[in-house]
Amino acid sequence: MTKSGKQKSAPSIVRLSGSVDLEHAPDVRRRLLDAVAQGANVLVDLSAASYIDSSGIACLVEALQKARSEGTDLCLVAISMQARRVLELARLDMVFPIHDDIAAATAAGA
């Protein structure tokens, strides 16, 4: 996947699982930024993420900001109940595009 194909190339998919928190933030951050650096839109699959805290959200925010500054986007798909509650309470649903699954995100142009 190259930068020259960023508008049309297939999205990069990052699957986060378990606790997306302070302890795992360095690894989560690296994976998300690596995916953004691929030059395509990034889909973050949170179906197996049982817990997310503000440090985990900060990783997502940084990757989103980086993606948008480079003309791509980052969306969240298949969010678990706990993560959805946290994101909606903080009104982060106004920040991140959120889709039920990867097919829906792809259909929406991700």
Partner: protein, 416 residues
């Protein structure tokens, strides 16, 4: 001890066993008292060069971050100091990788005409450096006695270098700890000081570490209205504490100049976004309370919904209508207006409702409400302290920075 002192360890070099034992005793003795890393490195090398009667030597330590060997002491090769070598290359690298003594006869190594001896410096079985000594070509090779002596001296030197490094690390940690304590003190002074129990607003902050990523603030305007705010920065520790200080300072400045909470949040949002790093953000409730009219106006940026305890003991929550500050510039915020009407308004960081009991149970909003109801007879000024004392006493564990702010006349039984 300096190199010259090390050189005088053995006044008259000899090859006898007694000489060697005395020499090694003097060598070890210096390390027993030295805690200075640079002096230890210099002496370790000087002693070895003298002990094996080499002409020159270098001492290299592994830079873990760069994955390279860095020359930290040199005798006879002063231009080698600070040079970097890959652990994949040459006799130095082989010695480190194998964690074993390596030797080469004169003419065997491309860049060094004389014989070479390399010994690893290791702690807990893990190599962290290499000492290399060389001699002139005429010598041909180092003797078995030289090799034995180097092995013993390198072990002694490794222990000394490891101790000196630990010692320096301890000093660094102490300096760091002092700085964190100072930062925590400055941070505490950013919060309203306790003692003004006559005001209808009370706050409490307890960091999970020394410094806090939470803050609260309030102050009285000349017309007696009280601007207030409570914020929670993403993450924990010093980076959260620094952003907390910025958010708190911005609020204190803006709260004196505008009585429009939504406008204040939109300005802070823009300011934080301009300079924020690593996706960090701040959830915040900012508002203004008029004790004269009992009117409360506030805006919520992605923060835990505040609780209004009404006169009839029912509770109303106020979920955020906008995301946290610092994420998206140009975000619009909304001001909510409500009458306190002899009720109480509680704003808190998630550290309060995430108080944990055992492995699973979290306090939650329902648990908080139950506790508040049990304390309703207390004056508001004491209620927050009792609330937290109760959680501590019952064995609830704090998992995050905790901040709570309560507004109201707080007519507990003690006030009646």
């Amino acid at each position: 001890m300096s190199i010259s002192t090390a050189n005088s360890l053995r006044e008259a070099p000899g090859c006898g066993v007694t000489d060697d034992v005395e020499f090694l005793a003097a060598y070890s003795q210096f390390f027993a008292v030295s805690r200075d890393l640079e002096a230890t490195l210099e002496t370790a090398l000087a002693g070895i060069v003298q002990g094996v009667q080499a002409d020159s030597g270098t001492l290299h330590l592994l830079d873990q971050d760069a994955g390279e060997l860095v020359c930290r002491a040199a005798i006879g090769h002063h231009d080698m100091r600070d040079t970097r070598t890959s652990p994949e290359e040459g006799i130095l690298g082989r010695c480190l990788r194998r964690n074993a003594l390596e030797s080469a006869e004169a003419g065997a190594a491309p860049d060094t005409p004389g014989p070479i001896l390399c010994a690893p410096l290791a702690a807990d079985g893990r190599p962290f450096g290499v000492i290399q000594v060389t001699s002139d070509r005429a010598r041909g090779r180092f003797t078995a006695r030289d090799i034995n002596l180097l092995q013993i001296m390198a072990n002694s030197a490794a222990l000394a270098v490891a101790n000196a490094r630990k010692s320096e690390e301890l000093v660094r940690q102490e300096v760091m700890e002092r700085e964190v304590h100072l930062a925590a003190e400055i941070q505490r002074n950013l919060l309203p000081q306790p003692g003004q129990t006559d005001l209808p607003i009370h706050g409490y902050n307890r960091p999970i570490r020394l410094v806090s990523g939470d803050f609260f603030d309030y102050f009285t305007l000349p017309d007696q209205r009280i601007p207030f705010a409570l914020g929670d920065v993403s993450g924990k520790g010093m980076n959260a504490a620094l952003l907390m200080s910025k958010a708190a300072s911005l609020f204190r400045c803006l709260g004196k100049r505008s009585d429009d909470p939504a406008l204040i949040l939109s300005i802070i949002n823009k300011e934080i976004h301009e300079t924020s790093s690593r996706g960090m953000f701040v959830t915040m409730v900012a508002g203004i309370y008029d004790p004269g009219s009992g009117l409360l106006r506030f805006a919520n940026a992605g923060h835990e919904p505040p609780l209004l305890r009404k006169r009839d003991r029912s509770y109303q929550t106020f979920p955020a209508e906008a995301p946290p500050l610092g994420i998206v510039p140009g975000m619009e915020f909304w001001t909510t207006e409500t009458a306190l009407d002899d009720g109480e308004f509680y704003i808190f960081s998630d550290g309060l409702i995430e108080f944990q009991y055992g492995d699973e149970e979290e306090l939650g909003v329902e648990g908080l409400i139950q506790l508040l109801e049990g304390l309703a007879d207390q004056p508001l000024a004491e209620r927050l302290k009792t609330l937290l004392d109760t959680l501590d006493r019952e064995g609830w564990e704090l998992r995050d920075d905790l901040t709570v702010l309560a507004i109201g006349q707080g007519r507990g039984r003690a006030d009646d």
